[in-house]
């Protein structure tokens, strides 16, 4: 037990050590990009009003914000504030950054969490099914379907889903988070509104999992101990679940961690298509508005998410196979 705890501490420690320069580099890179950008945050801030605002007033706002101060100064100021827990105020939303993220992060995590569960279900169940009934029409249909959903852009799938389920059949709403007349969020309302986005995200992300599980299970099924188990007369289900799946799980976990960037990408597009008030959709608006403080915080968040994903994968790896000593980055 202690050995595992020590391993875990070592893994976490190494990851942290490598994360810090990574986070610094990424956020600094973002500042460099934003500084080099021709986009004028003041113009974005004023929106339509920019058409009727005189250039002098715009220059004043620019000076008030310190947009033209040197890059290094802006970055170090931001960093200093960050270490004190001060993330600044979003220029485009005129709210503290912590509030912007706090209000929206929950929804994104909810959608992602549900999608992960559904994705696991789809991938494991359908992948095993395909492996079990290898080369049958079912297998071909599932494999073909997986390839197709991998190749199809998730925003297109989302639009088609809206067209089929919301427009033509009228079963589910086409977007938003809740029914408008409700003054608070209800569970059934959420369920209805999140069904399509979660399903679309899960389906588009699960194809690789399905194919992966399928291959692993096929590989395992060929092995001697499985033949032995079958020969002993064990039920198919026991064979599959207890032996095949378990060894398939191991590599799957590590790849899972590496797929977090894809998941972030998927959430951004799903939030855009379904008009969900999550943190990923805010990122696009923040990028277009060149909202330095919000952008920096969101960049940080996204990179931390990926680092965490990799970290969890490393930790889970040791759980699945205690013989493995994984030290930081391979």
């Amino acid at each position: 037990m202690e050995a595992r705890a020590v391993t875990w501490l070592r893994i976490i420690g190494w990851r942290l050590v490598f994360s810090v320069p990574l986070l610094l580099a990424v956020t600094f890179g973002m500042f460099v990009l934003a500084k080099a950008s021709p986009f004028d945050p003041v113009r974005q801030y004023l929106g339509d009003r920019a058409m009727v605002t005189s250039p002098e007033i715009m220059a004043e706002i620019r000076a008030n914000w310190g947009v033209d101060r040197p890059l290094l100064e802006q970055y170090t100021t931001w960093l200093g504030n960050l270490l004190q827990g001060e993330l600044g105020e979003s220029r485009s939303l005129r709210l503290p950054v912590t509030q912007v993220i706090g209000e929206r992060l929950g929804w994104t995590l909810l959608v992602v969490g549900c999608a992960l569960v559904v994705m696991l279900a789809i991938g494991l169940v359908l992948g095993t099914l395909a492996a079990w009934r290898r080369d049958s029409w079912l297998d071909r249909a599932l494999t073909g379907g997986a390839f197709a959903t991998e190749a199809a852009p998730v925003f297109w799938v989302g639009l088609l889903a809206i067209w089929v389920f919301a427009v033509s059949l009228g079963w589910l709403p086409a977007g938003g988070l809740t029914d408008a007349a409700a003054t608070e969020v209800t569970f059934t309302g959420l369920l209805r509104h999140l069904t399509l986005p979660v399903l679309v995200l899960a389906v588009s992300q699960s194809s690789w999992l399905l194919l992966y599980v399928r291959e692993s299970v096929i590989g395992v099924l060929r092995e001697d101990f499985v033949l032995g188990a079958r020969a002993r007369g064990l039920r198919e289900r026991t064979v599959l679940v207890r032996h095949a799946l378990r060894s398939a799980l191991l590599p799957f976990i590590t790849i899972m961690g590496a797929r977090v960037p894809e998941l972030v990408t998927g959430v951004i597009l799903v939030e855009a298509v379904f008009a969900l008030p999550g943190v990923a959709g805010t990122t696009i608006k923040a990028a277009l508005a060149v909202d330095f403080p919000l952008l920096a915080a969101l960049t940080l968040l996204a990179t931390i998410a990926v680092v965490l994903g990799n970290l969890l994968a490393d930790l889970a790896y040791t759980l699945a196979d205690p013989r493995v000593r994984v030290l930081g980055v391979s």
Partner: protein, 517 residues
């Protein structure tokens, strides 16, 4: 494994079952909670920081208020003063209190306006109040506006919502306290704002007790939610509203607006600087097709910057909705622009070619630009389109044409003064084409400084005629705003709306709505 599969299918069916359409929420049409589906959520609910300065904020009152027929009426002020000279005095109505019980005093009014003007607040609307030097409360009930110069249109600015003196601007933006017909209940960011009727409102409590402003920026999502019965009323783009036209229990209102789109030409460009080219393009535009295809019928052809239907509009300035390519061709031939071998006209070695820019995120302007370029091709003028971000457009505005839009119905001084007066040439979005006509300058100055209504109208009528003759812009269309309202109500009044209309405009009349008997 069959079991697992069955379980999954069962789960999916259960979800689909829960998602079976319920009856449209009765609350959507009762007199209890009325829900408006709106497109763009405000960043802040503080009028000083830009929330609904032209009225219709529902939470705040201004010194004056506007009825849909565009007339100004007293609100927090007792009467509408004359806008003569550089000092304008308002006397406040008695007995008005804020939602938290504090009585309204002149100090609150002065605070509101001075905060807008204060540079450190970076108020996005500060430019609109540039004519005001400062506002002071000379006693409990008297407010004096000190202007930098005589400015007749200043009364139009007095619809700004009044906030309590000393308020923290950011905090107030999230938990507003005003004197208006509705009090603030809650704001779920990204989703909705809930309001409750102000029982103690000085003008009588509204009949609709509970109001929800729900925000869905995506037009299609809003249309679907309206169809599902989630909203009592919403505003939609014309194509999305078309499906409601013949539905029972639902009324579609098309209100005219002063919001126009047109092509701004750079005067210094060898092709667009030639008046014959501009007038020919004006003749060749198929405005009728633009209104019916691009605006789905919710619009009208535009021939000038002042919207028909107001006293300011000069009825003599008009044109044909259908193109007249022959007349356009003749005009160009006479001016020396002869068709070249590839069909593009040439004069003195210069081909009739220029670039038209449109803002990349705006699909309406993109479609109008495409239609305009196609129309121009038919008379031998080659227009190259460029879809750019505003930052890329800014430096090119004095060499390339740009499809722009403006329009308020309240007073023709704003923004025509800034757009056409030579003093503003080349200043950002003001007069980007460097238009310079001394007669126009004179007319605009007269209109701004005279207080006499008849004299102002005459000046602006002449202004419209000169602009029409000179054609520094080719005006394309006026937009109509389309509202879909469920149920029957009295008190709905339509009028000419401005560009920014959210809860100003038709939905802003909600304090006067009552369910029809």
């Amino acid at each position: 494994m069959g079991r697992g599969f069955v379980l999954l299918v069962a789960m999916l069916l259960a979800i689909a079952g829960c998602a079976a359409p319920t009856e449209p929420d009765a609350a959507g049409v009762s007199e209890e909670t009325v829900v408006f589906g709106l497109s763009s959520e405000p960043d802040t609910l503080n009028p000083v920081l830009g929330y609904s300065p032209d009225g219709g904020s529902l939470i705040f009152d201004g010194l004056l208020r506007r009825t849909p027929d565009l007339k100004l009426h007293p609100a927090l002020a007792e009467s509408v003063p004359d806008a003569v000279g550089t000092e304008i005095t308002f006397t406040l109505r008695q007995g008005v209190t804020f939602h938290d019980g504090r009585p309204l005093t002149a100090e609150d009014v002065a605070y509101t306006y001075n905060q807008v003007l204060a540079p450190e607040n970076n108020s996005p609307i500060r430019g609109d109040y540039a004519a005001i030097e400062k506002v002071e409360a000379s006693d409990e009930r008297t407010v004096v506006f000190h202007l930098k110069h005589p400015y007749a249109p200043v009364l139009q600015r007095a619809t700004l919502g009044v906030i309590p003196a000393g308020s923290d601007l950011a905090a107030l933006g999230n938990a507003p306290v005003g004197t208006g017909p509705y009090t603030f209940t809650s704001w779920t960011k990204g989703d909705k704002i809930a309001l409750t009727a102000n029982e103690k409102y000085w003008n009588g409590a509204p009949a609709i007790r509970s109001l929800v402003l729900a925000y869905t920026s995506d037009d299609n999502a809003r249309a679907t939610r309206m169809a599902a019965g989630e909203f009592t009323a919403t505003e939609l783009p014309p194509k999305a509203a078309a499906r409601f036209k013949d539905q029972e229990g639902v009324t579609v209102h098309e209100t005219p607006s002063a919001d126009y789109r047109g092509i701004m030409f750079p005067m210094k460009h060898p092709v667009t600087g030639d008046r014959a080219i501009r007038k020919a393009l004006d003749l060749a535009v198929d405005r009728e097709a633009m209104v019916s295809a691009i605006l789905a019928g919710a619009g009208s052809p535009a021939f000038g910057p002042v919207v028909p239907g107001t006293d300011w509009h000069n009825p003599a300035v008009t044109g044909s909705a259908r193109p007249d390519t022959e007349a356009a061709g003749r005009l160009l031939d006479e001016a020396g622009w002869k068709a070249g071998p590839d069909g593009i006209r040439v004069k003195d070695g210069t081909a009739a070619r220029f670039t038209l820019m449109y803002p990349a995120g705006d699909s309406l302007r993109k479609e109008l630009a495409l239609a305009f370029a196609s129309d121009a091709k038919r008379i031998g003028i080659d227009i190259q389109l460029a879809g750019l971000e505003w930052e890329a457009i800014d430096p090119r505005m004095d060499t390339d044409a740009l499809i722009m839009g403006f329009g308020t119905p309240y007073d023709p001084d704003h923004t025509n003064y800034e757009l056409f007066h030579s003093a503003y040439a080349g200043q950002g979005y003001f007069n980007p084409g460097h238009y310079d006509n001394p007669e126009v300058d004179r007319l605009l100055e007269t209109g701004r400084e005279t207080a006499d209504q008849a004299a102002r109208e005459k000046a602006y009528h002449e202004f419209q005629q000169v602009i029409s003759d000179d054609a520094p812009w080719v005006y394309l269309v006026y937009l109509k705003h389309v509202y879909v309202v469920r149920g029957s109500w009295t008190g709905l009044e339509t009028g000419i709306e401005a560009h920014e209309h959210a809860t100003a405009g038709l939905l802003g009349t909600v304090p006067g709505w009552k369910p029809a008997p």
